[in-house]
């Protein structure tokens, strides 16, 4: 039982920031090639030159941990903490810059569902294709085929090309294949945040089955409830390092206390287009409102329009706004640099952690989109002294009116109660 499934030793991953290198031209390439022998010599004659200059970022640094066989570990952290990079390294999609990891057993990684789905192929064909891409053997897929189809609830469209599927059907099929991936080690990234609520519940259930099967699972999610439900141990990443590793409840508490209360986001401005340079959000207890402040910079003057979407921790959008929706006749001033503040009244929002995605554009263009940029903790329900720890249902706290009618014996549609 104490066999090690995943052993990570001092893993580090260095990224180069910016996009200047990516789509270089052939001319650059030729120049680059001329310098190749010299660089090759440098590379061979010593360890990687540790670039200290700006423009480099350690997405992961000195990451070490061990996961025993059969353990379920939740990886949490804010955006940019390195969660996805860690999963990519462990799934062998990208190589680490330093350190190593030993993985014992077959690994299945679900960084996305529906990877490799081809729109022209039918549902049936895509089950096989997607299954193979996820690492299943042909015989294995054939064996589980009926189960996958039943789980997805799309039997009647099995021979229809999936380009005709609705997005819901597509996600259902995609998740069904993924859910039947039975490797000993499973690496899962936030894939539960798909489909409708009903299907999500089913997927969470399936994940629990998976966990009972004695398999090793590394699970990344922003959903604290999902993590707490599935995992016993948690690893909190922060700025590419392991900040805390321990029982899941302690890790979640720490995450919420340190990270979620006033989320902030900082980025380097893209010099060519308007971009969001920083953002933060906090909850004002007095006013019962969320304050979102977004700073932006632009190489030219424009009419900045900020879009804000509030998500619950599972990733379901709850509310979104932008000046076009709220104040269609009021034009924001023309600016090239500044701060936009938005206040959202939360008197109808339950206490919870909410993630906020940001969009910056003008009439015609989308300039900058930052998904799950910041998160904010709303404590609305907790300060009610009369009802400590009352149960919450859903995310909204809508205004309601009750009415009781006694002695009116009508049909079954009566609303009488107690």
């Amino acid at each position: 039982m104490s066999e090690t499934a995943i052993r990570v030793e001092n893993i580090g991953k260095l990224y180069r920031l910016g996009t200047s290198e990516q789509h270089s031209t052939l001319r650059d390439s030729l120049v680059h090639t001329l310098g190749a022998p010299q660089r090759a010599w440098k590379r061979l004659s010593g360890p990687k030159p540790a670039p200290k200059s700006e423009g480099w970022l350690w997405a992961l640094r000195n990451i070490s941990f061990e996961v025993k066989r059969g353990e379920l570990v939740g990886v949490i952290g804010r955006n940019g903490a390195g969660k996805s990079t860690l999963l990519k390294v462990l799934s062998r999609i990208t190589t680490p810059t330093e350190g190593f990891a030993d993985i014992t057993g077959r690994v299945g990684s679900l960084l996305e569902v529906g990877t490799g789905f081809h729109p022209e192929l039918s549902g049936r064909e895509n089950i096989f294709l997607n299954g193979a891409i996820l690492g299943m053997h042909k015989a294995e897929i054939a064996r589980k085929f009926d189960e996958i189809v039943a789980f997805s609830e799309i039997e009647q469209f099995l021979d229809t090309p999936i380009k005709h599927y609705s997005s819901g059907m597509y996600m259902r099929l995609a998740f069904s294949v993924a859910a039947h991936l039975e490797t000993e080690i499973l690496i899962v990234d936030e894939v539960l945040a798909v489909g409708d609520a009903e299907f999500q519940k089913k997927c969470l259930g399936k994940m629990e089955d998976v966990s009972r099967g004695g398999r090793t699972v590394l699970f990344v999610s922003h959903s604290m409830p999902a993590i707490q439900r599935l995992c016993k141990r948690g690893i909190l990443l922060s700025k590419g390092r392991v900040e805390f590793d321990g029982p899941v409840s302690a890790v979640v508490d720490r995450y919420l206390s340190v990270h979620a209360l006033s989320g902030s986001y900082i980025a380097t401005a893209d010099p060519s287009i308007p971009s969001i340079t920083s953002a933060d959000a906090d909850w004002d207890e007095e006013e019962e409102e969320i304050r979102v402040r977004v700073a932006f910079e632009s190489p030219f003057a424009f009419t900045p329009k900020l879009g804000v979407v509030l998500f619950d921790v599972v990733g379901v959008p709850l509310f979104g706004t932008n000046p076009k929706i709220d104040l269609p006749n009021v034009e924001p001033p023309v600016m090239s640099k500044g701060i936009i503040e938005l206040r959202i009244l939360t008197d109808q929002l339950r206490a919870d952690t909410y993630n906020i995605s940001l969009w910056l554009g003008d009439h015609y263009h989308d300039y900058s989109v930052v998904e799950n940029a910041i998160s904010v903790q709303v404590n609305g329900g907790i300060r009610d002294p009369n009802q400590p720890g009352r149960a919450q249902i859903g995310c909204a706290k809508l205004q309601v009116r009750w009415r009781y009618e006694t002695g009116v014996a009508t049909n079954s549609d009566s609303i009488a109660s107690v």
Partner: protein, 286 residues
């Protein structure tokens, strides 16, 4: 509790330890892992073949029409107007016989060089030996070739050309054509991850290469002192070899063939090494 888990087949294989670490040194080919992923290769091939002629009115007939129409054009322009010599066989068969391996090569080249960028959505999300993608593209091209080959047999019957025992050499020539396109394609696909210029260069390269290869004309037209240059081009050996094996034209110069083989092997080895080096950074760059 562990025993109760329903793990697939080979337990022994699954207990293996995979070490993930920074990439160092030269490694040309990782055959074991390619073998391990053979089923995925099959599925990639299957996908490429299935999808190719979806939503086309003529479907797989395109595999016939492409070389056939090119052959017609060549026959009219080079055969009829320019009176191009054709080593004693009727010009249409001569041209078609050269076009078959050429089209296989050109198709495989475009498939392989686009394979990484075209499958970037997979490469950034799932691990598999990246080499599978270009290889699958190559194999899919063989299906087109086979369809088009049937027409060649028909044409040979029409012109009453006998089937020779040398036809047995054809598979080897095919293999050589495929390996050549892989050698060049690997370079291009790995380059295209970083430099999208490749996409724009490829059509020119293919066109230029077509005229540098004795497809529309016989190699006997080339003066002796330039033959050496032809030898470097592996496709000239393949095309000439095809005509020799199927139509009984003059045997290609074996020294030139040897030179072709050498140039392909060098290209391929370099391509594999470069591809392997790039493999580790694909996901970061694509």
């Amino acid at each position: 509790m562990l025993e109760s888990m329903s793990t697939p087949a080979s337990q022994g294989e699954s207990r293996r330890v995979t070490r993930i670490q920074p990439h160092r040194g030269l490694r040309v080919l990782d055959f074991p892992s390619l073998w391990e992923y053979r089923e995925l290769l099959y599925f990639f091939c299957w996908r490429d073949i299935k999808v190719r002629y979806k939503q086309t009115a003529l479907g797989a007939a395109w595999a016939l029409l492409q070389p056939f129409l090119t052959m017609l054009i060549f026959s009219v322009i080079f055969g009829h107007f320019a009176k191009m010599p054709s080593d004693g066989v009727p010009y249409p068969v001569f041209a078609y016989c050269g076009l078959l391996p050429w089209q296989l090569f050109a198709f495989a080249l475009s498939e392989t060089s686009n394979s990484l960028v075209g499958n970037s959505h997979l490469i950034t999300k799932v691990y598999f030996p990246r080499l599978l993608v270009p290889i699958a593209g190559l194999l899919a091209g063989l299906v087109d070739f086979t369809i088009a080959f049937v027409l060649l047999v028909g044409m040979m019957a029409y012109y009453r050309l006998p089937i020779r025992s040398t036809v047995l050499v054809v598979p080897f020539l095919l293999l050589f054509a495929i390996v050549s396109s892989l050698g060049v394609g690997l370079w291009l696909s790995a380059l295209s991850v970083k430099y999208r210029d490749v996409r724009h260069v490829l059509p020119f390269l293919t066109q230029f290469w077509l005229y540098a290869t004795p497809v529309a004309y016989p190699s006997s037209l080339i003066p002796h002192k330039w033959r050496f240059l032809m030898g470097i081009n592996p496709m000239s050996g393949v095309v000439e070899g095809f005509r020799w094996a199927l139509l009984g034209t003059e045997q290609a110069d074996l020294r030139l063939m040897a030179l072709s083989v050498l140039s392909v092997l060098i290209l391929l080895a370099g391509g594999l090494v470069y591809f392997d080096r790039m493999e580790t950074t694909f996901a970061d760059l694509v």
